[in-house]
Subunit: 215 residues, 2 copies
Amino acid sequence: MSDLTPPATAVVDLLGMLAFGELVAFDRMAADARLAPDLRRRAVLSEMAAREITNYRRLSDRLAELGADTEDAMRPYVQAVSEYHQQTEPADWLEGLAKAYVGDGIADDFTREVAAVLAGPDQDLILDVLHDSRHADFAADELRAAIAADPKVANRLSMWARRLVGEGISQALRVAAERPSLAELLAIGGTDFQALLRRLTSAHTARMGAVGLNN
Amino acid sequence: MSDLTPPATAVVDLLGMLAFGELVAFDRMAADARLAPDLRRRAVLSEMAAREITNYRRLSDRLAELGADTEDAMRPYVQAVSEYHQQTEPADWLEGLAKAYVGDGIADDFTREVAAVLAGPDQDLILDVLHDSRHADFAADELRAAIAADPKVANRLSMWARRLVGEGISQALRVAAERPSLAELLAIGGTDFQALLRRLTSAHTARMGAVGLNN
């Protein structure tokens, strides 16, 4: 962790991005729950979606403590995040799960890296609102079972995951260009960007392999 | 409250109906949140949706305590509840709010009547999972403001509410015919059905009038 205190605007930018991410993740998981093959799975995904809103509330409360308006703090991310989701609408239950598994995995890894730069309460809050492992475990189990039942599924989902990553990167670059404060936040922490990208990529490859998908 | 203990199957039937109602209400409110005119309102509705899932979890836990499988207990209601929602898809934010206001109001009134027949823990649980008044207050405020801004909205929403009630009644009659245990539950409590219908109707009329809609 850096000795320098990150500027308040950068922290508000970061919390706003995470808050909007939670609001949209809620929306998407609630919609994906409808694709579930049975009521039990539908309920599991609905409960996971609801948890995103609990996290949204905590981030929004913290923004208020910092004197920021949540809606204002979220607004810069609406277009990029919404476009990402419009470009990656899952066609079925497995695509929805693969999207949550791949996308949340990368988002959580990135968030953990940024949190390391922050101090005390914000760091604790952000580490706390990461997706809990139950979510990834549920998605991984479902994906593994589907691939075991029909190995052709692995190819289709591997291609789908590549599309998700590609679309995610192009929207992330757009946000980075428009909100330099987030890049500055990492720079203050002395983050080596190339090393960061290598860590994110190798964690992503390991996650894909763990469920039988190729990167 | 009756001296007779309601049969366990009737209680399971009732909890199953409420559990599925919560799961679907979650889904619909999450979808309606996307129709919100701004991020603040979207977040408010998303948080309300998430609360339905907390209620679902409590009902599901109680079903497990009674030795029942939640999925089995919910299954009889899937078709009627899903058809009600398919027939009453809101076209915009105000129709979504009017649907929640009108539909949840009647559903809560009915649930309260049934709860009166039950004993101890089930009665407490059911009274506890009723929608809290914040929800109705939010919807009522939005509806009143929209009607004040454009009085023509009142006619459109009044007709919409009549469609909701008509569709709700036809699905409720279907469930009542297929699941006699629920009617028996009320009969055990000595409920006068005609008086019950009058109470539900007059509460509905009062709710409509409170936001400027005609029954």
